[in-house]
Structure formats: structure tokens, C-alpha cells
């Protein structure tokens, strides 16, 4: 694998205390242990650390360490952009490099929940501003002038009255000896020149020429490859195995039991380790393994649906309540009760799961793609029985993640096998492993009840979610947490509303999947709002506007998308349109689907999404993330869905777990709203409203209400 250029050790130890931030111990950064992604850092010359994020080097120039792992969500560019803005450097001229995994230096680096920008915007501005002020102080000391008489522009400090200049490179060593300011002054947002623009992302060229390094591309000298056979029934227990044929495969070195933990469940496997991946995979095929799957083989999608339906009779836990729903429902002139169902979904990032771990006596190293570098470090320290400081995480670009790479399970297998063999081990999952082992997005049953008064005004709504809870998968506690209620819009002005949950506990592992429970609940909720609008004989977009008249951001979004899509134009023959909205990660989204009937089939013509995520750091990143959300949302609506038979997943690979392909991809338009609210999430919020916008459009065109995903678009 590529490793970082070595930069000579500079021993500048500083403690930077930034208001609202963790303590940053600024000192020598061990470049040789860096993740492999470096852009244009060509020099091995001495350099100076200004703080944990900014390194200035006499020949390579300015390098910004990005502490948020990149999985396609664009933080490799957007986080350094925020620092560069306040630092007064041209983003085109800086190098960007992945920071080490170090909670003490960088706080929690886990990239989940569309939180990188919202959680770091203020902090990154302070980091950049503090570094800039430190450089200005260094210049003013050099010139014996007041700091206030100097300013910074384009990586240069300038003395206002004389026009004297010193570059950041010339000032770096002096600056690195100074204590950064506690309260750096931040720019007025109207003076932003980088935030709000879309410079070419620096990781892109390497993603067109094969140079970008993903986890699976790493290799370590002497490394063994492992392929692991596991029970297709998830919690099956290993009874026995015969490895004689496996060991006869040339290149196979070991056959070993292994295990990983997924949300409290121990899942067992038999690993074949060999000197090439191909030999390991061949050896695995030659294994004969006996599993005890107990009565788990009785489970099927049908049985789960029946279980959920039965469970829906339970009262469940109340997460949120206003007014008295039962009372108005009992006496309402118009009542509706319907159910919606969604399936298990797999993340299927294009890069199959993998991990390299080299566990030595007193230290441990990991190479691979992870959303959760600090969590991996803690896990490996625990597993190897060593201090966290002795664990080094080399995190790479991720070939997609969507939540799957926040879990440590694959690294646990690699660590277990490395400890057992004393060798570095790369565990490589096949696509079949990915699809049949999980964890998955939970399937769900949503029961919605609504009441209208005699004038068609909604007066009551109950939304009950029946599903597994990521946060409560083992043990005796039978209450669901409010996490399972994500994506249910309580901003609607419906006077009597109650949100409930009924927990199901199954042996099937579930986890976070792009936008999590919003992806299922929003389908149900926004379909149901549409059903209420139909019952009230109102335009579905106007119906939402009237129920959100006090909500400035939803109102602006709905009006913007109505205008962009010509919502109020008389419909063309054989076309339909549907709308849906959501709030996810403090971002507000409206989606409109436009469809047409063609030769007896329904064709998705265009999806338009309006997204309000407050101050936008990089509009193109918001756009492409939302484009991706549309494709993933449509895929989950009418292409993919996992089914269970005999306790195991039926869909094994992309041949029957279908993904949207280019020929099926409709036109997508994204409207990025402009305002001055605090920045909020960009990676997930576009996904939840896509499915209900589409099914609402199908109702608009055909009068057929789709309440179960995935549906077959050709059969509508």
C-alpha cells in the first residue's frame, strides 16, 4: 500500500484550548502511520504544526488534515474547506490528508447520521481562525507592529500600512511556537469566499485512474487472506467441521474457528486462511461444516409478517403524545386505519466488507475502510488486551458504507485470526456473505389511524411502529426506544396525535442504514398524510402547507418545489405526481415524483428534491448526495428487498437483490435552499421522502395505493 511521505519530526508541543472544543494536544504527528491517502504532499522537508489540523511545510505548502473518513459523502473536501475559509488560504492550493484516528486529538471521528458538517462547522472555523491569528501574531512579532495592523490573505500576512508581507510558510516555524488564541474572531458569513462554493474535489482524480486506495486494496507483508464460512441462519451454532479437503487446497495455511459480535449476539464461523484470496475462497468451498440452527429455521418472511401483525394489537410504548387521540377518533365522522410494510434491506456498499488486522504482542494495527476509526481502535485494544495508544488505525477511503462500516464486526474476525496465527490477516467477505449475514435495515409494520372532522380537517392521528430496535436487540427489556420513531413528522398541526412503538426481538441482526428508521417510517407517514388529503378532498401539497402554515422552512420548501415542478399546472394526460416531506438530521426536505403511463406500464420520469440544510458549505456535495439518496430511495421502493425462508436470507447477490441500474434512473433535479440557519445534515435527508413521493404519484395516476415495499413497478 502507499504510505505517507515522511516528514521530519518537529518537536513542537502545544496545548490548544478552544472554546467548546476538546483539548487539542498539538505535537508531533506520526506521519509514517498515516492512512494512505495523500494529495500532492510531495516533500520530505521540515514542516511546522500550527495545530492538529494545519501543517505548513516549506516545500509542500499547506496541508489540512481531514479527520472525517470519506465514504463518498464529500467530507474529504468539505471539512478542509471550512478550515481554509477562516485560515485565508486558497482551497485549490492546499493539500488534504486523512488525519490519524485519535479521539484525544480529533474527538469522535465516526461518520454517521449526516453529522460531519453540523457537528464540526463551528469547530473547524475556530481551528482555521485560531491558526490564522497565530500566524498573524508571528508576523507582528517579527515586524514589531501591532497585530491589529496586520491581516491575512491568500496564505500571506500583510502589514496594512506598509504593505510588508510574509507568507505562511515563512511564518510557520515561529507560529508553531506560539499559543493559539482562546477566542479567535470568526469571519462574517457575508465575507465567505470558499464556504458556499463547489471547488473540484481533490479525491476525484484518484477515483478515475485506479489510484484511490480502499480497504480491500491494502496489503501487508506476510499477510494471509481469510474467507469465513458462517451459518446462513445467523445464530446457528457450530457443531463440527471437516477441513481435510480445504487443507488440501494449495496455498491454504490454516482452518480456524472464529467469531464476531453483532449488537450483543455472538456469531460463529470457520475461517480458511491462505496465501492468496483465491486459495482461501477455494478452501472455504471445500469445507464441510455442520451447524445447529435449532428452531430458527422455522422463520420466514411470512412468519415475521404474521408475528408483526399480531404484535400490532399491543398498546406499545408512547413516544410522543398531544391532545387525546382515542377520544376524537372514537367520535370522528371520518376515520381511516391502514397499515404499511417495509422489508429488510442490505447496505451492499460496492466494496465488500474487509479488514486487515496485525495483532502483535504489545501492539495492533488495522488497515481498512471504516466509518468509525475510534470505535475500531477501542475494540481492537479491548480484544488484544492492550492500551489504545498501542493500536494504530490506518483508515482508507470507503467503497460505500451507508451505515454498514460503523460496526467493528469484520475487524473482530480479523483480529481473532491474527491473534491465533501471529500473522497479519485480511478477512474478505464475499457479496453473498454481505447479503446473507447482515446486519440489515429493519423491516417494519406501521399502523396508522386518522380522523377528520366534518369539514375535512384532520383532528387526530396515531402512528404505531412495529419493528426491531437497533438499540435493543438482546436481553429481557421489551420496550422499544424512541429511535424507532424517527421520520414521523410531528410538526403537522393535527391537534390530537400519538406516536407509539411495539418492539419485536428477532435473531436477525439489524443496524443503521442510510437515514435509519426515517427510511421506513417516512414512507408510512407521508403515504398516510396523502391518504388523509384524499379523504379530505384536498390537493396533497396544499393539505401539507395548511398543516404546516406556522413552519417557515417546510412552507418555503413546499412552495419552492411546487414552483419548480409546475405543481399547479393542469396535468398532462397519463401523468401523475406525488409529494412527500421529511426532517432528518435537522435538515428539511421535500420531494416530488413525476410519473407517466407508457404502454400500460408506469415510468418514473423525474424526481425533484428541494433540500434545506441551512448554511451550505459545498452545494455540489449536497446535490450529489441527494442524487444518490434518490437512487437509493427508488431502489428500496421498487427494486430491492430481502426475504427470509427457512431462517435464512433468500437473496444472495445482485442477480436477485436488484439494484437500480443506469437505464432505470430517471432525471433528478435538486434544489438547494439558501438561508442562514445553522448547517445541518446532507448525506441522508434526501432518501426518506423518495418512496412516498413515488407511491403518492402512483395513486395520483392510477388510484392504486401502494402500502407495501418493495412493489413491482411493472405490475402497477
Amino acid at each position: 500500500m502507499k504510505t505517507g511521505q515522511k516528514i521530519k519530526r518537529r518537536d513542537f508541543i502545544r496545548i490548544v484550548a478552544l472554546p467548546g472544543a476538546a483539548l487539542f494536544i498539538v505535537g508531533y504527528l506520526d506521519i509514517k502511520n498515516k492512512a494512505p491517502q495523500i494529495v500532492n504532499l510531495s516533500a520530505s522537508a521540515p514542516g511546522a504544526r500550527i495545530n492538529a489540523y494545519v501543517f505548513i511545510d516549506s516545500s509542500a505548502g499547506i496541508t489540512i488534515y481531514n479527520h472525517r473518513p470519506e465514504m463518498g459523502q464529500g467530507t474529504f473536501e468539505s471539512i478542509p474547506m471550512i478550515i481554509a475559509e477562516e485560515l485565508e488560504v486558497d482551497i485549490a492550493k492546499v493539500n488534504i490528508m486523512a488525519s490519524p484516528a485519535d479521539r484525544k486529538l480529533y474527538g469522535d471521528q465516526m461518520v454517521v447520521g449526516s453529522s460531519s458538517i453540523s457537528g464540526n462547522f463551528e469547530l473547524m472555523r475556530r481551528i482555521g481562525a485560531a491558526a490564522k491569528e497565530t500566524l498573524i501574531t508571528a508576523a507582528s512579532n517579527r515586524w514589531h507592529v501591532l497585530q491589529g495592523d496586520c491581516y491575512a490573505n491568500d496564505a500571506t500576512v500583510i502589514h496594512r500600512s506598509t504593505g510588508k508581507k510574509l507568507t505562511y510558510i515563512e511564518l510557520a516555524e515561529d507560529a508553531s511556537r506560539l499559543s493559539p488564541p482562546q477566542n479567535p474572531k470568526l469571519k462574517d458569513p457575508k465575507d465567505f469566499t470558499i464556504i458556499g462554493t463547489s471547488p473540484p474535489r481533490k479525491d476525484i482524480p484518484s477515483k478515475t485512474n485506479g489510484e484511490a486506495v480502499f480497504g480491500l486494496d491494502c496489503s501487508v507483508k506476510g499477510m494471509l487472506y481469510a474467507s469465513v464460512e458462517r451459518s446462513p441462519v445467523f445464530l446457528g451454532r457450530l457443531v463440527s467441521y471437516d477441513d481435510s479437503k480445504a487443507k488440501a487446497v494449495k496455498g491454504v495455511k490454516y482452518v480456524l474457528k472464529t467469531q464476531r459480535n453483532v449488537w450483543g449476539h455472538r456469531r460463529e464461523g470457520v475461517a480458511v486462511l491462505a496465501d492468496t484470496y483465491w486459495a482461501a475462497a477455494q478452501g472455504r468451498k471445500a469445507l464441510e461444516v455442520k451447524w445447529d440452527n435449532g428452531d430458527l429455521e422455522s422463520w420466514s418472511t411470512k412468519k415475521i409478517k404474521e408475528d408483526y401483525k399480531k404484535a400490532s394489537a399491543q398498546d406499545g410504548v408512547i413516544f410522543e403524545e398531544k391532545g387525546n387521540f382515542s377520544k376524537v377518533y372514537d367520535s370522528a365522522p371520518v376515520k381511516i386505519e391502514v397499515s404499511y410494510e417495509t422489508p429488510y434491506q442490505a447496505h451492499v456498499p460496492m466494496e465488500p466488507m474487509n479488514a486487515i488486522v496485525y495483532a502483535k504482542k504489545d501492539s495492533c494495527e488495522y488497515w481498512g475502510s471504516t466509518q468509525n476509526p475510534n470505535g475500531f481502535r477501542s475494540q481492537l485494544a479491548r480484544q488484544c488486551g492492550i492500551a489504545e495508544d498501542n493500536v494504530t488505525i490506518h483508515y482508507t477511503y470507503m467503497g460505500g458504507a451507508f451505515g454498514r462500516r460503523s460496526l467493528t464486526d469484520v475487524a473482530e474476525e480479523a483480529a481473532d485470526l491474527s491473534m491465533k496465527t501471529g500473522m497479519p490477516v485480511q478477512v474478505v467477505w464475499t457479496r453473498e456473505d454481505d447479503l446473507t449475514q447482515g446486519p440489515f435495515r429493519a423491516c417494519s409494520l406501521n399502523v396508522c389511524k386518522g380522523a377528520l372532522d366534518s369539514e375535512g380537517n384532520p383532528i387526530g392521528l396515531e402512528h404505531k411502529v412495529i419493528c426491531q430496535d437497533i438499540r435493543n436487540q438482546t436481553g429481557d427489556d421489551d420496550r422499544a426506544t424512541d429511535g424507532i420513531a424517527g421520520g414521523i413528522n410531528t410538526d403537522y398541526l393535527i391537534p390530537n396525535m400519538v406516536i407509539k412503538g411495539v418492539l419485536r426481538k428477532l435473531y436477525i441482526p439489524i443496524s443503521y442504514w442510510r437515514s435509519v428508521y426515517h427510511s421506513t417510517n417516512c414512507f408510512a407517514h407521508e403515504s398516510f398524510i396523502d391518504e388523509l388529503a384524499v379523504a379530505a378532498k384536498k390537493d396533497p401539497l396544499d393539505f401539507r402547507l395548511s398543516l404546516l402554515k406556522n413552519h417557515e422552512r417546510y412552507t418555503a420548501l413546499l412552495k419552492a418545489i411546487a414552483e419548480k415542478t409546475g405543481w399547479y399546472r393542469p396535468p398532462q394526460k397519463d401523468t401523475g405526481k406525488g409529494v412527500a416531506i421529511v426532517e432528518r438530521s435537522e435538515t428539511f426536505v421535500a420531494a416530488v415524483a413525476e410519473i407517466a403511463a407508457k404502454d400500460g406500464n408506469v415510468s418514473v420520469m423525474k424526481i425533484t428534491v428541494a433540500i434545506d440544510c441551512g448554511i451550505v458549505v459545498n452545494p455540489d456535495i449536497i446535490k450529489f448526495q441527494t442524487e444518490g439518496c434518490v437512487v437509493m430511495g427508488l431502489t428500496a421502493a421498487y427494486k430491492s428487498g430481502l426475504t427470509i425462508e427457512k431462517g435464512r436470507v433468500v437473496e444472495q447477490n445482485f442477480n436477485n437483490y436488484a439494484m437500480m441500474r443506469i437505464n432505470e434512473c430517471p432525471e433528478i433535479e435538486v434544489i438547494v435552499m439558501k438561508n442562514s440557519y445553522d448547517p445541518s445534515g446532507g448525506g441522508e435527508p434526501g432518501l426518506p421522502p423518495v418512496a412516498p413521493a413515488l407511491t403518492n404519484a402512483i395513486f395520483n395516476l392510477t388510484g392504486k395505493r401502494i402500502r407495501e415495499l418493495p412493489f413491482n413497478l411493472d405490475m402497477v
Partner: protein
């Protein structure tokens, strides 16, 4: 085991390997070119697409024995200095997100443009439907192929 000779990106390699091994693993693990990706192992996703004597093939199901004596081009060999019109267009339109599938996308698109310098949307869909992108970059891929055609045709 057999001795297999391959020309990859104009460089000759002599490999001693199982002729049943898919070309993908020979390129990645024996030759060490990691730009060609493993995605599904059954020619469903296109991440492993390379050119075998000029044709786009899924290297995950192409047996090494079949490639013996033939000329292979991988993403690393498609241009010098990232200068192929497709690479320029991919950068201009900021196509990749995670980037993992993009080697395969570009290798498929390169054959399309060689055979059809002025592809329509439908031509693009037909040529590219074997390449999955879970990040959903399809609309940009379509635009970038048109743009690459423009660059190519001057």
C-alpha cells in the same frame, strides 16, 4: 498450476497460477494492480471490468487460462496522466462519490466511445447497464459520457 503469460498495460507478466483463478485476482493480488475492483464475483456489478484484447470483460468471471497470451488493459493503463477524455469528463462533472465502481464504469464507457463516438442516452444506457453504482452517480455518468464524446470529437 500453469504458467500463464499476460500483457497488462503493455507490460509482460509470466504468472504461475491456477488457470481456473479469475483474471481479477491475478491482476489484483499477483500483479498488484488494485484499480480493478471486486464487487460481486458473478458478473453482476461490473466493478471488475477490464479490456481483454479490446473488449470489455468482467474479470471476476474470466478465467486466467482464457487470458493466456492476450493483451489486457486496466484502469491504470487507460491513459497517461489521467488524460483520457472520460477521465477528464469524470473530473469536470465531479462524477464519483465513493469512487469504488468508477474504474469499471470508465472501462465500460471507453469501449462504448471507441465503437460509437456519438452515443445517445439510450446507447449509453445499453452499454452501461452492467455497471452498478450504489452511490447513485448514474445521471452524472450519462452527462460525463456525452461530455467525453465532445472532448474526443474535438
Amino acid at each position: 498450476m500453469a504458467s500463464i503469460s499476460l500483457t497488462v498495460n503493455k507490460k509482460k507478466y509470466q504468472i504461475d497460477a491456477d488457470p481456473e483463478m479469475p483474471l481479477l485476482w491475478a491482476i489484483r493480488d499477483l500483479i498488484g494492480l488494485k484499480g480493478t475492483k471486486f464487487g460481486c464475483g458473478m458478473a453482476q456489478c461490473g466493478a471488475c471490468t477490464v479490456h481483454l484484447d479490446g473488449e470489455a470483460v468482467r474479470s471476476c468471471v474470466t478465467l486466467l487460462g482464457r487470458a493466456d497470451g492476450q493483451e489486457i488493459v486496466t484502469i491504470e493503463g487507460i491513459s497517461d496522466n489521467t488524460s483520457h477524455p472520460l477521465q477528464k469528463a469524470w473530473i469536470e462533472l465531479q462524477v464519483p462519490q465513493c469512487g469504488y465502481c468508477q474504474s469499471g464504469q470508465i472501462m465500460s464507457a471507453a469501449v462504448l466511445l471507441r465503437e460509437n463516438p456519438h452515443p445517445t442516452d439510450q446507447d449509453i444506457d445499453e452499454a452501461m447497464m452492467g455497471n452498478l453504482c450504489r452511490c447513485g452517480t448514474y445521471t452524472r455518468i450519462r452527462k460525463a459520457i456525452h461530455r467525453a464524446a465532445e472532448i474526443m470529437n474535438g
